[in-house]
C-alpha cells in the first residue's frame, strides 16, 4: 500500500490544516449540490463559483499556488462569467427544467449509478491495490510553498509541444465560437423589418430565410421561425 493512502484521521493532522480542509470540503460539496438542485441557472452558476473557490483553497493547501490563482482567474473569473453572459443573453433564467420529467425512472437510476460509481472509486482507493509508477518523473515538487517556478520550468521544457498545441487549440476554439454564433449578414433591402429581425431576433440560424425577401417582410414569421423555415 502506498504510504500516502493510509487514511490518517483528520483530527490527527495539524489543526489549521484539518480545519481548512474541513471547511473547504463543506463549501465544495455544498456548492456542488447547489449546482445540481438549483432551479434557476443563475443560482447554479453562483453555486459553481462557490465550489471553484473551495477547490482553489484545496489547491493552496496542497502547495499548488499557481494553479489556485489560475483556477480563480480562469474558472471563476472567465468561465462562470461566460456562463452568466449566455444565461442573460438567452433569457433562460426563468425557465424551470426540473418539473415534468419525461423519464420517471431516470432520476432513481442516476442516483443508484452515481452511488455505485462513488462507492467503487472509494473501495478501489482504500483497497490498497495501487500501481503508482515511478515517482518524480519530470521533476520534484518544491518543498517550500510556491510551485510557480517549477511548474513554469516543466511546462516550457518537457511539455513544450503540448503547450504550443494548446495555443493552436485556443485559436481554433475562438474562431469556431465566432463562426457558430455569427448572425448571418442581412441585405440592405430589408428596411425596417430587416433591422427588426436583425436586432431582436437575429436569432435566425438559417441564412437563406433571413436574406429571402418573401420571409423578410413578414412580421408574423417571428413567432414561427423556430419550427420549420419555409423559404417563400
Amino acid at each position: 500500500m502506498h504510504p500516502g493512502l493510509v487514511p490518517v484521521p483528520l483530527l490527527a493532522t495539524s489543526l489549521p490544516d484539518a480545519i481548512t480542509f474541513a471547511v473547504s470540503a463543506v463549501i465544495v460539496i455544498a456548492g456542488a449540490i447547489g449546482v445540481v438542485v438549483a432551479r434557476n441557472p443563475v443560482h447554479s452558476a453562483l453555486m459553481l463559483v462557490m465550489t471553484l473557490f473551495g477547490v482553489a483553497v484545496l489547491f493552496v493547501e496542497q502547495r499548488a499556488d499557481f494553479l489556485a490563482a489560475v483556477q480563480v482567474i480562469v474558472y471563476a473569473g472567465a468561465i462562470v462569467v461566460l456562463f452568466l453572459f449566455v444565461i442573460m443573453l438567452l433569457g433562460v433564467d426563468r425557465r424551470e427544467a426540473v418539473s415534468a420529467d419525461p423519464l420517471p425512472w431516470q432520476r432513481p437510476l442516476a442516483l443508484v449509478l452515481s452511488f455505485c460509481a462513488l462507492g467503487s472509486v472509494l473501495a478501489l482507493g482504500f483497497s490498497g491495490a495501487w500501481s503508482t509508477g515511478a515517482a518524480s518523473v519530470t521533476g520534484a515538487l518544491p518543498h517550500r510553498a510556491g510551485d510557480t517556478a517549477a511548474l513554469g520550468k516543466v511546462v516550457f521544457t518537457t511539455y513544450l509541444l503540448p503547450f504550443e498545441v494548446t495555443a493552436a487549440l485556443l485559436v481554433i476554439a475562438v474562431v469556431a465560437a465566432v463562426l457558430l454564433v455569427r448572425v448571418p449578414q442581412l441585405r440592405e433591402q430589408g428596411g425596417q423589418a430587416g433591422a427588426e429581425r436583425g436586432g431582436a431576433a437575429g436569432l435566425e440560424g438559417d441564412p437563406e430565410a433571413v436574406s429571402d425577401p418573401g420571409v423578410d417582410g413578414d412580421p408574423q414569421g417571428l413567432g414561427e421561425r423556430d419550427r420549420e423555415v419555409v423559404p417563400s
Binding site: 456542488a32 465550489t51 489547491f59 461566460l82 431516470q106 515517482a135 515538487l141 516543466v154 469556431a176 419550427r227
Partner: protein
C-alpha cells in the same frame, strides 16, 4: 504536525465527481448540464493535484494546467453551440433536441 492525508482529498474528489455525474444525468437544462461537466473536471483536477503532492511529482500539476486550458476552450465552443441552438429553437432542455430524428 502532518498534512491532511491524501485519502481525504481523493474521497472528496470522488464525491465531487459523483455529484457532477448525477447532475449531468438528471438535469435537463443544457447550461446546468455544462456546469455539471465543469464540476467533474474540477474533481479530476483535484485528484491530479493530490497525486502530484503524494508522489512528489510536478507533472500532475502540469496536467491540471492543460486541463484548465482545454476546459476553457470546451466551454467556449459548447456555449457557442448552445447559443446557436437557441437561435433555431427557443428551448433550453436537452429533450427537445431531436432535430436529427427522421
Amino acid at each position: 504536525m502532518t498534512d491532511v492525508s491524501g485519502a481525504w482529498y481523493l474521497s472528496l474528489a470522488a464525491a465531487l465527481f459523483g455529484i457532477g455525474a448525477f447532475g449531468l444525468l438528471v438535469r435537463r437544462n443544457v447550461l446546468v448540464m455544462f456546469m455539471c461537466v465543469e464540476l467533474m473536471l474540477n474533481a479530476a483536477n483535484l485528484t491530479f493535484v493530490t497525486f502530484a503532492r503524494m508522489l512528489n511529482d510536478i507533472a500532475g500539476q502540469a496536467v491540471v494546467f492543460f486541463v484548465l486550458v482545454v476546459a476553457a476552450a470546451e466551454v467556449v465552443v459548447g456555449l457557442a453551440i448552445i447559443v446557436a441552438i437557441f437561435r433555431r429553437r427557443r428551448e433550453a432542455t436537452a429533450d427537445d433536441l431531436h432535430i436529427l430524428r427522421g
